[in-house]
Amino acid sequence: MKLSGHHIFVTGGAKGIGEAIVRDCLAEGAKVSFVDIDVKNGEKLAAELGSSVKFVKASVASFAELSKAFSEVTAAFGEVTGVVNNAGVNSHADPVTMTDQEWEDFFAIDMKPVWLTAKLALPAMRKAGKGSIVNIGSIHGKLTYPGFFPYGAAKSAVLGLTRNLALDEGKHEIRVNTVSPGYILTDLTKGWLSAEDGRTERANSIQPLGRMGQPVEVAKVVTFLLSDKATYISGSDWAVDGGLGARSA
């Protein structure tokens, strides 16, 4: 039980990698709170997992909603000891036709919440002299693929945010890391794969392990980095991509 005594706060916890993280943190002994805009799946998951899991509807794009949710979950479970920034959406835009509002909306979900949750969680962590933040990046933070503008930019920015937060909060023994998944079989990925004939076959064919990953395989790495087993790991980008990032096209 790597996370006994912890309270882990997860964004986008209702489905996919977020759901797997919620489940694994609970299995490792933590109290787990999560926000999502998907009320149906959020409530369903919280009901299934019981009293050590709390779901609050909130959009990470709204600091007002996020901070209200944060107050609610700390009132219920005490100060947050670990944060997982997982909420995110895809973006496949043409830089000419993309509108300013689309840009703003996208970065408000895929980048800015890393700051917003830090703003909320750091005061108690600094006081405790301890804390761990894990940001879900992507293989697109370092290498990308045609058609992913500006997703790669947001995910690279998450790496930069991680580095600076790690350097600034290290003196409080607060650790900040990125976990960068490759192809993980979430609804988001499955949607992208099925949008074009042959994508699934091509995706599998480039995987060094010959397969795509499961959400739980990312969750296990996140749980490890949240735990006291990872006390000297900070500012790092841990790839969980089945070796894809080691390969040139």
Binding site: G170, I184, L209, A230, Y232, I233, S234, G235, S236, G245
Partner: protein
């Protein structure tokens, strides 16, 4: 007990990070075999762990000499069975002037700090391929990606480890074998102590730039290595995993 049922092989297991890996992995349920050139320390470690009820064994081996290394490996396998996990950890420091450095010194240094990771793969891959299971961790360093003055040619060897791990990951993935490098930062080991003795000003500097104001312990590095070896890391391969208290996020 995340390594239950596994047989871990470690090079340079007598001291520092290697010793912490041997101890940590034994506690996580693995049978552990290691080689080293330090008989006294190794035997003491094996006796201590055996007394505590762990399955640990040692053979003396020079990992730069393939014949010597492979015969030690064969003995270890004959008692504990095929190796399922391996850590190539043996290594030493090098501080050379590129003009003064002699070719024999270069060759003997790279034989230890780079080539021995190939030997580890050469020895343990056949059984791993057959069983379609295995995990190898090669110990690199923060010097694999950024360095300090006076580390020629240490960084070249450590950069080499990262590249070697990537290629092995791509080539062995089809067998379900994972290969990663773990790159420690400033860690309180005998190697660090010898470095600090050689360059007395470096200790204060290293502490002043450490984002959390302290060095890592061998146990903290070993915890990360053990995690990457384990089935919990089943989709982690071809990666270089930094364990350095955020030092690599900072320049100067």
């Amino acid at each position: 007990m995340i390594l239950k049922g596994d047989h871990l092989f470690v090079t340079g297991g007598a001291a520092g990070i290697g010793e912490a890996i041997v101890i940590g992995a034994a506690k996580e349920g693995a049978k552990v075999s290691f080689v080293d050139i330090d008989d006294a320390k190794s035997i003491t470690l094996v006796e201590k762990l055996t007394k505590e009820g762990f399955n640990v064994q040692y053979q003396r081996a020079d990992v730069t000499n393939y014949d010597n290394f492979s015969s030690a490996y064969a003995k270890l396998v004959s008692t504990f069975g095929d190796v399922t996990l391996a850590v190539s950890n043996a290594g030493r420091n090098s501080y050379a002037d590129a003009v003064e450095y002699q070719e024999e010194e270069w060759n003997s240094f790279f034989a230890l700090d780079l080539k021995s990771s190939w030997y580890v793969a050469k020895l343990c891959l056949p059984a791993m391929r057959k069983s379609k299971y295995g995990s190898i961790v090669n110990i690199s360093s923060i010097h694999g990606r950024m360095s300090r003055p006076n580390f020629f040619p240490y960084s070249a060897a450590k950069g080499g480890i990262v590249g070697l791990s990537r290629n092995l990951a791509l080539d062995e993935g089809k067998y379900g074998i994972r290969v990663n490098s773990v790159s420690p930062g400033t860690t309180a080991t005998p190697l660090l102590k010898s470095y600090m003795e050689t360059f007395p000003d470096e200790k204060a500097h290293a502490l002043s730039v450490a984002p959390n104001g302290r060095f890592g312990t061998p146990e903290e590095i070993a915890n990360a290595i053990i995690f990457v070896l384990s089935k919990d890391a089943s989709f982690v391969t071809g990666a270089d995993l930094m364990v350095d208290g955020a030092l690599h996020s900072r320049y100067a």
